[in-house]
């Protein structure tokens, strides 16, 4: 057990158990209210007109005919937004939400309408006349880097980019240490290979939705499904020229995000439409809009050069990563370049990352953004070298494994980490020695994610009857209300069901960073524990007052204030409920709060093992067995930890096998629906076995690390290694759809 020195807890009673989640009943009865489930009196329906062109100059937009229609209350274009001069990042988000001079991808918003019904709004959309001048387009990352490629933005590259690079290269990143060439000279074999991955979508089942109301006094309210209500507030306020305090954003229940709801799409449009019409405006994306015009991942192209001795030592490791991040700078290539070799202790290592723009929707985060593609390339290369020498691929990973004190390629020196533990556990698991049948193969791969901390506020209120409310500012995307209630109850020493955690709107707490980087259980948990500690200190003070002894003569234990020692005097313990009941007479209501920009997030590692069978006549691959071994730090609620492991693994399986953005020659998306954007269905999969390892994070009072993201990092490579073993040919392109596998089989 890991507990910091401030703790009065001797052993966890609640953390590590599996109580029911507080929002469970709402979610199994249909009562829970998601983004599209709210209405307001007098509400209008907003719809978006989108570019049918991959790249076009907008010469003019005539909205007059639409505006004249009965039932149409507002039509907006880019002219209705505040221009953002001093912040390129937010200016790009605005341009992505509503095109300015150019439409930069198929589906780019060019106008929006609010009307009294959806039917009228649909008709009105057809009456908006947009004059486009189609321009040449490019959607492939390597093509976008060619010198003669159509250029999306003039003069946007930052100072890291050499002048001879093509006009679509926005930034260059470099990490590493040692001497690559010298290391390669020590190798018994050097592998050079190029790997490619297609863009995928987070595939949350709930489309983006919001309801906005802006009053004539500038006071605005917004209800939306988001991973960060404060991010929505700050971004939208900038776009509308509002003060942040004027806009209150309330996060609805969220139907999945996985990173895709860490930015805005409809929200500023709904606010502007509401401001212009004076009416509440509701907007909901269709699935086709979600796929065409929210934020998928980068597609990538990655060169790896790796040297290995015949006993499995990696002597040198180099990767050059090219990520297109859609139409604006900011692909996660930096994370890719930092994480590529993070699981290994390497003498000579270097990564170069290129951030590239192309005529696709602006990418958004997707679970460990940038890392799965890099891991696919690196873990495939290690596997190929290991198998080439006839070495056990897990032994090779152990031989090169990063451990406490290892200096990672991205420059940090690790504290206690769990990579070796995951590989050891995998090696000793019955899965590793289970027999395989014909056309079957087994693959393994490791993965890494940083985990984040960040700005966090928690308020904890003790009610007069001794129950507790925790107010936190991050949407509950997979059980965090349960985890916070558990940590608060643990720290206060009261039963879990005495605590209710609610998600605050932006007016009710200070700034909370967006739910990303697996930060919530770590950072919000830390703030919850600290808020509980503040409340405990206050309760000890109240008890001291009642007993007439010094404050520091009172301690908290098992849910009650007690005299700290025999010298303090003999008083029966005073429980939280007893102290709460007399709070009015001892100084007033009792609450604790904590505000922090949390540091000390602990990195996490995983090893995945998968068995696949390939039909040699069709190239179809079936996943037969899957086991996740991951270091969670302290697992607060093991069910939800397992759920994160399983969900990440299956998203990775989908990415590996069949999910991809397919663009036509004309640069339009060919598969904008769940029929042809093929996320895994229940019958595609076996059970996903999980092994939770708990190597405590020294940076958290209970040892918590993040768990949500690492689980999507290894599967692309693990599945590729399994399929390559089953098929007898090396697969270097993701997804490994049947036509690709069959082609490799027949030509290899």
């Amino acid at each position: 057990m890991a507990l910091d020195s401030d703790s009065d807890i001797k052993q966890f009673k609640i953390v590590g158990t599996r109580p029911p989640r507080p929002d469970g009943i709402d979610k199994v009865t249909g009562r829970a209210r998601f983004g599209a489930d709210v209405t307001a009196p007098g509400m209008l329906i907003g719809l978006v007109l989108r570019s049918p062109h991959a790249h076009a100059r907008i010469l003019g937009i005539d909205t007059s005919e639409a505006e004249a229609m009965d039932g149409v209350h507002a039509v907006v274009t880019r002219a209705d937004f505040a221009e953002i001069e001093d912040d390129d990042y937010t200016a790009d988000i605005l341009d992505n939400c509503m095109a300015g001079e150019k439409a930069l991808y198929d589906g780019h918003a060019v106008a929006a309408i609010a009307a009294s019904s959806g039917a009228i709004a649909r008709k009105a959309l057809k009456r908006i006349r947009v004059e486009y001048e189609p321009l040449p387009h490019v959607t492939d990352v390597d093509a976008a880097m060619q010198p003669d490629a159509p250029v999306l933005h003039q003069e946007r590259a930052n100072e890291t980019v050499p002048p001879d690079m093509g006009g679509n290269v926005m930034a260059r990143y470099e990490f590493g240490h040692g001497d690559i060439e010298a290391g390669l000279n020590k190798a018994d074999r050097v592998l050079e290979r190029t790997y490619r991955t297609e863009a995928t979508h987070q595939g949350y089942i709930e489309p983006h939705a919001c309801l906005a109301q802006v009053g004539p006094d500038g006071q605005a309210d917004l209800w939306c499904c988001t991973q960060g209500q404060y991010m929505v507030r700050d971004t939208c306020a900038a776009m509308l020229g509002l003060k942040q305090g004027q806009l209150r954003v309330t996060a609805s229940e969220i139907g999945g995000g996985f990173g895709g709801k860490t930015t805005v799409f409809l929200e500023p449009l709904a606010l502007v439409l509401s401001r212009k019409s004076g009416r509440p405006v509701k907007m909901v994306m269709s699935r086709a809009e979600v796929l065409r015009a929210s934020g998928p991942t980068s597609s990538t192209s990655i060169d790896v050069r790796m040297g290995m001795t015949k006993d499995g030592r990696i002597t040198s490791a180099f990767a050059e990563l090219r990520y297109q991040g859609g139409a604006y700078p900011g692909s996660p290539v930096e994370f890719g370049a930092m994480s590529a070799f993070a699981p290994y202790e390497l003498e000579n290592v270097k990564t170069i990352g290129w951030d590239v723009v192309a005529n696709r929707p602006k990418q958004a985060a997707y679970r460990a953004p940038g890392a799965p593609m890099a891991a696919f390339a690196v873990e495939s290369a290690i596997d190929e070298l290991a198998r080439g020498f006839g070495l056990d691929p897990l032994d090779v990973r152990l031989k090169n494994a990063a451990r406490e004190g290892t200096r990672a390629s991205h420059g940090v020196t690790y504290m206690a980490i769990g990579l070796e533990a995951t590989v050891h556990t995998a090696k000793n698991h019955p899965h590793w020695s289970a027999p395989l049948g014909p056309n079957q193969g087994r693959g393994v791969a490791c993965g890494f994610w940083f985990n984040f901390g960040g700005n966090t506020c928690v308020s904890l209120n003790i009610t007069p009857d001794g129950t507790v409310n925790v107010l936190e500012g991050n949407p509950d995307i997979g059980g965090s209300r349960a985890s916070m209630s558990m940590m608060a109850a643990e720290e206060l020493g009261i039963p879990y069901d005495k605590v209710r955690t609610v998600i605050a709107d932006t007016a009710s707490l200070g700034l909370n960073d967006v739910t990303d980087g697996s930060r919530v259980t770590f950072a919000v948990g830390l703030a919850t524990i600290e808020a509980a500690r503040a409340a405990k200190r206050e309760m000890c003070k109240r008890a001291a007052m009642v007993w007439g002894i010094e404050e520091d003569a009172v301690m908290w234990e098992d849910g009650a204030a007690r005299p700290a020692g025999p010298n303090a005097g003999e008083y029966p313990p005073m429980s939280l409920a007893e102290i709460a009941a007399i709070a009015s007479n001892t100084g007033g209501p009792i609450a604790g709060h904590h505000e922090v920009n949390a540091e000390g997030a602990g990195v996490s590692f995983a090893t995945h093992m998968v068995d696949a069978e390939v039909d040699p006549e069709t190239g179809a691959a079936k996943i037969l067995r899957y086991t996740v071994f991951q270091d969670a730090g302290k697992a607060v609620h093991p069910d939800f930890v397992e759920g994160q492991f399983q969900g990440g693994a299956v998203q990775g399986i989908g990415w590996a096998l069949n999910e991809e953005y397919v663009y036509g020659e004309d640069g339009t998306l060919q598969n904008a629906g769940f029929l042809d954007y093929r996320v895994p269905v229940a019958s595609d999969l076996p059970m996903i076995d999980t092994v939770i390892l708990e190597i405590p994070n020294p940076g958290h009072p209970y040892g918590v690390r993040g768990v949500g993201e690492t689980s999507i990092v290894p599967p692309l490579a693990a599945v590729a290694n399994a399929i390559s073993a089953a098929a007898g040919v090396r697969m270097d392109t993701i997804p490994m759809s049947p036509p690709r596998v069959l082609l490799a089989l027949r030509s290899g």
Binding site: V28, G30, R31, D37, I205, D639, G643, Q651, A682, M687
Partner: protein, 159 residues
């Protein structure tokens, strides 16, 4: 406008509504009747989040017109619990942590109930194929399938 007057039964209650010919049953449930438990994840029958039963048969309410529901027995997630008593499937979904975000949960519960009405003792494979039309992006289906199998076992014992 040529609104259609529909009389039908939803979760056992007599219901009347007026709908446009193009309104889907899902539109009617959500926008007119305030029954927002059925979700629209795709509008094309590919995700199953809008699953309901009509005359005992599992369907996507986004692929059926409101007008077609005339004189039917429609059952939605809102009618699954008996007052305060959750259906065994609902209990098992909470017990097994078979939901994360919860957006697909109503549709999966309706679909799973329909499976167990027809086949009280499904194999894991039968459950997986029956539920293949219900996408879940959070769980990887593992805990969902466990919850369904466990609920089936409990319901068999109780009957």
């Amino acid at each position: 406008m040529n609104k259609i007057h529909v009389t039908t039964k939803i979760n056992g209650d007599p219901v009347e509504y007026l709908c446009d010919p193009e309104d889907t049953l899902l539109d009617v449930l959500r926008d007119q009747l305030g029954m927002t438990g059925s979700k629209e994840g795709c509008g094309t029958g590919d995700c199953g989040a809008c699953s309901v039963t009509v005359n005992g048969r599992l369907v996507c309410s986004c692929l059926m017109l409101g007008a077609e529901a005339s004189d039917c027995e429609v059952a939605t997630i809102e009618g699954m619990a008996d007052g305060e008593n959750l259906h065994p499937l609902q209990k098992k979904f909470i017990e097994h942590a078979a939901l994360q975000c919860g957006i697909c949960t109503p549709g999966i519960l309706v679909a799973a109930r329909s499976l167990l009405e027809r086949n009280p003792d499904p194999t894991e494979e039968e459950a997986r194929y029956w539920l293949a039309g219900n996408l879940c992006r959070c769980t990887g289906y593992d805990k969902i399938i466990r919850a369904v199998m466990d609920a089936a076992a409990e319901m068999r014992e109780a009957s």
